[in-house]
């Protein structure tokens, strides 16, 4: 029994999941159990818990992609803009504003917008891997231009769509569970298989720890970076589809605004080292759920949304401090000094 416990608690995703459960429990107590109540209407599950999973789906998808990017020691701050582009393309196609030949075919809209996101990711990867620009700067180009491109696609308007098939992406149900959850399971499952069943994951950690040494060891670093940024872009496009389906339209100014920061926070909470190296995708997913449930909790307590930003800022600093070697060293020095004092007395 104890052995099993030890094995479980050593998993990277263990503590994030525990924190997530504690937050849920806190909510449950504060609302007198109402928080956990699930009701079934028309064979669909409803409840606050379900809302957290549904609203957190975008963040979970982004966090999965972002984990890989951060594991290489890079960042992708363009995901919010890519979300805006993919939403703009999908809604414009469904509406018949662009490519009227497709007659608003939802499947074609979905495929084309994911393709566009993949292309955006490929562009980022090209700048990082081939032109060798620092990741923050390389993805900043798309961050600046992305929203502009999305605005040019929608001609600066907020586009609303009227298509039940499109609404299904965010609002649909399968077996009583919200459809976005299945998208998350599918994408993250695919990624996990890829990372754990191939040597990709191992190479990824190696590149994050020391890109130069990995290159000398024969790993094709360029190709890996290209693949990782492309995946991040494609995932961002899917998140953009969920977002635009949720608000039933494309709002280029606000779609995915500042979400890149939430995604980075989620990965940091999951314990992935932001300098690169050690990473865990399940832990990041738990991190995303924590970020989402904090948002829900703070809002449910009647605290203005603005305080969430302050809270997140403090969280980021505390987590990074706890990851900092120098800070740990200072703490350790402080402890030994105290011990020495106690011994002397």
């Amino acid at each position: 029994m104890k052995e099993k416990w030890n094995k479980l608690s050593q998993k990277k995703a263990f503590w994030p999941v525990v924190i997530f459960l504690v937050i849920l429990l806190f909510n449950g107590i504060m609302t007198g159990g109402e928080f956990f109540s699930l009701s079934i209407v028309d064979g669909h599950l409803y409840g606050r818990l379900i809302d957290i999973f549904r609203n957190g789906s975008k963040l979970m998808i982004l966090a999965a992609g972002m984990t890989m990017v951060l594991a290489t020691g890079g960042t992708d701050i363009s995901v919010g803009s890519v979300m805006a582009i993919s939403g703009a393309i999908a809604c414009s196609i469904v509406n018949g504003n662009i490519l009227p030949g497709l007659h608003g075919n939802v499947a074609a809209a979905v495929v084309l917008s994911i393709l566009a996101g993949t292309l955006c990711g490929f562009w980022n990867g090209f700048l990082v891997a081939k032109v060798k620009i620092q990741p923050i700067v390389a993805t900043m180009i798309l961050l600046v231009a992305g929203r502009g491109i999305a605005q040019l696609i929608t001609k600066g308007k907020i586009i609303t769509v009227n298509s039940d098939a499109y609404y299904f992406i965010n609002g649909g149900y399968i077996l009583g569970l919200p459809f976005p959850l299945f998208i998350v399971i599918f994408l993250v499952g695919l990624l996990l298989l890829f990372v754990s069943r191939t040597s990709f994951g191992l190479f990824l950690e190696s590149v994050g720890c020391n890109a130069k040494a990995s290159k000398f060891a024969g790993i094709k670093v360029d190709r890996m970076l290209l693949a990782i940024y492309t995946i991040s872009g494609a995932f961002a496009a899917v998140a953009g589809l969920i977002e635009s389906s949720g608000i039933k339209g494309a709002d280029c100014n606000n779609a995915g605004l500042n979400i890149e920061l939430d995604a980075i926070l989620a990965v940091a909470i999951g314990g992935t080292n932001l300098m690169g190296g050690r990473f865990s995708i399940p832990a990041s997913i738990a991190g995303a759920l924590i970020v989402q449930s904090i948002t829900t909790t703070v809002l449910a307590q009647g605290v203005p949304a603005a305080y969430i930003r302050v809270l997140k800022a403090i969280l980021i600093i505390v987590i990074c401090l706890s990851q900092s070697k120098e800070f740990k060293g200072m703490l350790a020095a402080h402890k030994t000094a105290k011990k020495r004092k106690a011994v002397e007395e």
Binding site: Q134, G148, I264, Y307, V310, I314, L321, S324
Partner: protein
């Protein structure tokens, strides 16, 4: 000796491209549109972008050390909201300005200290700073607070007429607050070129380990750079509240990218060690002129963003090419 010469050449090439680009754009506008070619079009670049230029100059200090500061737009917004809030409470305007500038210095020093002493990534620390300041803005006030202080009013409306001839195109005006920009520019050029602190910044950006081994005070230099960046952002915030006469928490979202683009377009290397504040100012002027042309052409304002991003990309790639050539030259010298 020859090496330093080469470095200055690289610097000059970037700056030259920037200046030529500015002149070309101004010429393009003058040929294409009536009433474009005038002193007032030129002076308005300063009137409308003074706050951006001041913030950009501050950020250049951080970029020279090889760091990055993405908290400046929030600092500007916070300065605006907090000073409007204090003025509303009846605090005298000079005290208000002193307080917000001091807050700027404190925030910057705190960020710099976290980055230096705990080796945290500048991007993450200033990201947290950005969240914190934006959050605090809305905590103070969700609505826009108008400013009706007489001193702020006189700064907002007071201007100097500049006349170079009798023709209509030869006259324009400069608002008082633009002279704050000129003062900041002059002081920064002096600090970067002629003081020990300024030279240390470049040394730090070139190679932190060698700077430390050379006996430079890395902690003071690095923290100083972030303090200057936030101070300039706060000063930019004061100028911005002169410009708008209001404090609003959601103001200037994403403006840090404009400031960073100004620096990059002006020839500052994002990898550190190279950069000038004059370049940054001209970079901001280029952005201003793109905006003016987009307005004249009656285009969707989003074209401004797309054009700036394209320019940014162009300049970053040029920087890479220069850097690669410099590396090759170095290799040849060693061989």
């Amino acid at each position: 000796m020859e090496k330093t010469k080469k470095k200055f050449q690289i610097n000059n090439v970037s700056l030259l491209i920037t200046v030529v680009l500015f002149i070309l754009m101004f010429a393009f506008g003058s040929v294409k549109y009536d009433n474009f070619f005038s002193i007032s079009t030129f002076l308005n670049l300063f009137n409308d972008n003074a706050y951006l230029m001041i913030a950009g100059i501050g950020v250049t200090f951080v970029l020279i050390t090889g760091g990055i500061d993405i908290s400046i737009s929030s600092t500007i917004a916070f300065t605006g909201v907090f000073s409007a809030f204090l003025l509303q409470k009846g605090v005298p305007s000079f005290v208000v300005i002193a307080i917000v500038l001091l807050i700027g210095i404190l925030i910057g020093s705190a960020q710099g200290a976290l980055i230096h002493y705990f080796k945290m990534q500048p991007f993450i620390v200033t990201l947290a700073g950005q969240f914190l300041m934006r959050g605090l803005c809305v905590v103070i006030s969700e609505a826009s607070i108008p400013i009706s202080d007489p001193f702020f009013n006189s700064m907002a409306l007071g201007k100097v007429a500049i006349k170079l001839g009798n023709a209509k195109a030869a006259s324009g005006k400069l608002y008082y607050y633009v002279f704050i920009l000129f003062a900041v520019l002059l002081v920064s050029v002096y600090v970067l070129k002629f003081t020990k602190f300024g030279r240390s910044l470049y040394a730090l950006g070139g190679n932190e380990t060698s700077a430390e081994l050379m006996g430079l005070n890395v902690a003071r230099t690095k923290i100083g750079a972030y303090a200057i960046s936030s101070f300039c952002a706060a000063l930019g915030g004061v100028v911005f509240s002169f410009y708008t006469l209001a404090g609003y928490g959601l103001q200037n979202m994403g403006m840090e990218l404009d400031a960073l683009s100004s620096a990059v377009i002006g020839g500052t290397l994002l990898s550190g060690g190279v950069g000038t504040v004059v370049g940054t100012t001209i970079g901001a002027m280029i952005q201003g002129i793109i905006q003016t042309i987009v307005t004249y052409q009656n285009l969707n304002t989003w074209w401004t963003k797309v054009t700036i991003a394209a320019l940014l990309c162009f300049f970053i790639v040029i920087q890479r090419i220069i850097a690669i050539r410099a590396e090759k030259m170095k290799g040849k010298e060693e061989a």
